[in-house]
């Protein structure tokens, strides 16, 4: 049974069911009709016997029968016997060789290949004595049935075969979409072309299935594209520092380099190496986050202190562009989180604000809490982000202005997004071109950690 296709299986089961139903129906009809018909016959026989009885007359010690009553009527043979079993009146049909009298009963006898329905009854006639009346007729019910059965036996297999064939084609037609789906999925598999879709029309269950598959392919394609892009972007970002290092090394190794130039080359190399190292760490963290295996070490963190100290740390860097940092930090906002990651979050947001801030501009850092919710914001009055770019700033390696490269090479906001999400919080961004950008994040004091 295992190696048959669904279509074959369905057809077989269905045909078997039809056969069983028909057979059961026939048997049922047969039995019921048999009973009813026989009941019918016996009733007629009984009536005939009774009629005969009522038509008797006794005259001069002899039994006389009314002329109205015939001993052969409607196919029923009437025979009347006296108490010595001698025939008084009537006749028995040809082919019937007689049989013992069974008074007050209706029964069937099979003789000489024919079936007889018999009704025997004993009557008492006043002034005469006992008589026995027999009503008998041929029972051709069975022979009719025999004909029906033989017809059925010949036509049933043909009917069944017809059923099976038609059923098979109907099933095949219904399952056609499945074949389509399989073909499409196969071609996607082999060709590794994830952009193909099944695109089945219709609204039944199979179309719905095909639809679901198409949606799944959509998601897969998007994920693969994102991963490919990520890998190529990452490699690209790493290539630049590597190229610088190689160039510096080659120069330093050339015979024309002086000791001072050695020193300067080494410093540049160190700088670039640090950059790469930072990039790789963030990539690692993000890839861990992607795979869902990033682990935070959760502790009680005083977010207020963290904000204060982080902004203090970056005052110098801001001052390089003449940017002033203004803090409005509520005291002792405590939460459960990963201290290093939260620090990273703030550093990235503030560094971003500095990079995209205007000369002699301002950065506003706020932190507050109410009940279990913590609200923080980093706002700058810098160059802002255009509406088209706004949804993309969270993308990895996305840099609105590649010439303004900061240390994180476009990963800063991806990290921010992930860190917020890992702490069960959310972050919004508002920006107006030429006016500035504001990042607002929400966290909870108790661990709402994913």
């Amino acid at each position: 049974m295992k190696r048959l296709s669904i279509k074959a299986k369905v057809t077989l089961w269905y045909s078997a069911l039809v056969a069983v139903i028909i057979a059961a129906l026939l048997i049922f009809l047969f039995i019921v009709s048999d009973l009813r018909l026989h009941e019918d016959i016996y009733e007629r026989l009984e009536d005939a016997a009774a009629e005969t009885y009522f038509s008797t007359e006794v005259s001069h010690g002899e039994l006389k029968f009314d002329d109205d009553v015939d001993y052969f009527m409607d196919g029923i043979y009437i025979s009347v016997y006296d108490e010595h079993r001698d025939l008084l009146y009537g006749m028995i049909p040809q082919g019937f060789s007689g049989g013992d009298f069974i008074p007050d009963s209706a029964y069937q006898l099979e003789q000489n290949g024919k079936t007889w329905s018999i009704f025997d009854e004993a009557f008492n006639i006043d002034d005469y004595g006992k008589i026995y009346i027999r009503a008998i007729t041929t029972d051709d019910i069975h022979s009719s049935f025999k004909v029906v059965i033989s017809i059925a036996l010949y036509t049933l297999p043909l009917l069944l075969a017809l059923c099976a064939i038609v059923g098979y084609f109907i099933t095949k037609r219904a399952f056609l979409p499945v074949t389509q789906i399989t073909a499409a999925a196969d071609s996607i598999n082999e060709g590794k072309d994830l952009s193909k879709r099944i695109a089945l029309e219709g609204s039944d269950e199979i179309a719905h299935l095909a639809n679901t598959f198409d949606q799944m392919f959509d998601r897969l394609e998007k994920n693969f594209e994102a991963e490919k892009r990520f890998t190529s972007d990452a490699s690209h970002e790493l290539r630049t520092p590597t190229a610088v290092i190689i160039a510096q090394c080659e120069y330093a190794l050339s015979s024309t380099a002086s000791v001072d130039e050695y020193r300067s080359s080494l410093e540049i190399i160190l700088n670039q190496s640090r950059k790469m190292s930072g990039l790789i760490s963030q990539l690692l963290a993000l890839s861990r986050a992607d795979r869902g295996i990033a682990k935070l070490s959760i502790e009680e963190v005083n977010l207020s202190d963290l904000c204060e100290l982080t902004s203090d740390q970056l005052i110098e860097k801001a001052a390089e562009k003449g940017i002033a940092i203004h803090k409005e930090i509520a005291a002792d906002v405590i939460m459960a989180g990963d201290e290093t990651m939260l620090m990273r979050l703030l550093i990235n947001l503030i560094t971003n604000a500095i990079t995209y801030g205007r000369e002699n501009g301002n950065i506003y850092i706020t932190l507050d809490s109410y009940d279990d919710t913590i609200v923080g914001a980093v706002r700058d009055d810098g160059i802002g982000i255009s509406p088209e770019n706004l949804p993309h700033i969270w993308d990895r390696f996305y840099q609105v202005d590649p010439s303004r490269s900061n240390d994180s090479a476009g990963l800063g906001l991806s990290m921010v997004k992930w860190i917020i999400a890992a702490h069960g919080g959310c972050i919004d961004v508002e920006s107006r071109l030429g006016e500035g950008t504001a990042f607002t994040f929400y966290l909870t004091k108790s661990a709402a950690l994913s």
Partner: protein
């Protein structure tokens, strides 16, 4: 404190890593001798837990190569081979300790602690600079008798500074000792942590212990 685990059975490897991280070590882990060698020659570890039977380069080879290169990082050999000959051979190759599988995890951590105590720059259970004291068993800090509450990373950085009291440590070195390759803080993170430490350890006291040496790094010492 940074530890390297070299163990080829993946489940045991990740279990050891997890438990040691719980003990507040920064942990790197690898599954074979080739990777292990790369890690060892590129990173300064405070201790190494090394399985002998590992693919590509076995533990004893790694050990002898290390000692030949004058790398004296304390090494605890971990293995299923427990005959006396095996132990003797392991120790003679330069191991500081030898633990046979199966072992109790508590015993492993105790032996690591003991091994670290015996290290050349031997570190005691408590470290003191002026009136600042840390108890390395309980990971608690007090100054002038007043307890100071530090987060896990803050403590690790302070401990590293105090283990090398009087020695200037660069940001890179501090970062490498407190974080494994898994979680590098990144630029500015060490600086912010130093600020934290200053705030908690120095601010309320007349004598400042944590100093910045511009261009080089940080040092903890009592300025005389």
């Amino acid at each position: 404190m940074r530890i390297l685990i070299v163990e080829d059975e993946p489940n045991l490897n990740s279990l050891l890593a997890k438990r040691l991280k719980q003990e507040h070590y920064a942990v790197d882990a690898c599954l074979n001798g080739r990777d292990a060698w790369e890690y060892i020659i590129n990173t300064e570890y405070d201790a190494i837990v090394l399985d002998i039977m590992i693919p590509f380069k076995n533990g004893l080879e790694i050990l002898s190569d290390m000692r030949r290169m004058n790398n004296n990082t304390p090494v605890l050999l971990l293995t299923a081979m427990d005959s006396v000959d095996d132990r003797v051979r392991g120790l003679d190759h330069g191991a500081d300790d030898y633990l046979v599988k199966p072992f109790s995890f508590d015993e492993l951590t105790a032996r690591i602690r003991a091994m670290l105590r015996r290290k050349k720059d031997a570190v005691a259970d408590t470290l003191t600079v002026a009136d600042l004291t840390i108890d390395r068993n309980s990971r608690t800090v007090t100054r002038g008798g007043t307890p100071i509450s530090l987060s896990s990373k803050e403590y690790s950085i302070l401990e590293y500074l105090m283990r090398n009291a009087g020695i200037v440590l660069s940001r890179d070195k501090i970062g490498s000792n407190v974080w494994s390759y898994d979680y590098e803080g990144g630029s500015n993170v060490v600086d912010v942590y130093i600020r934290y430490l200053r705030k908690k350890v120095d601010d309320n006291f007349p004598v400042k212990l944590i100093h910045t040496i511009r261009g080089t790094g940080y040092v903890i010492k009592e300025e005389k």
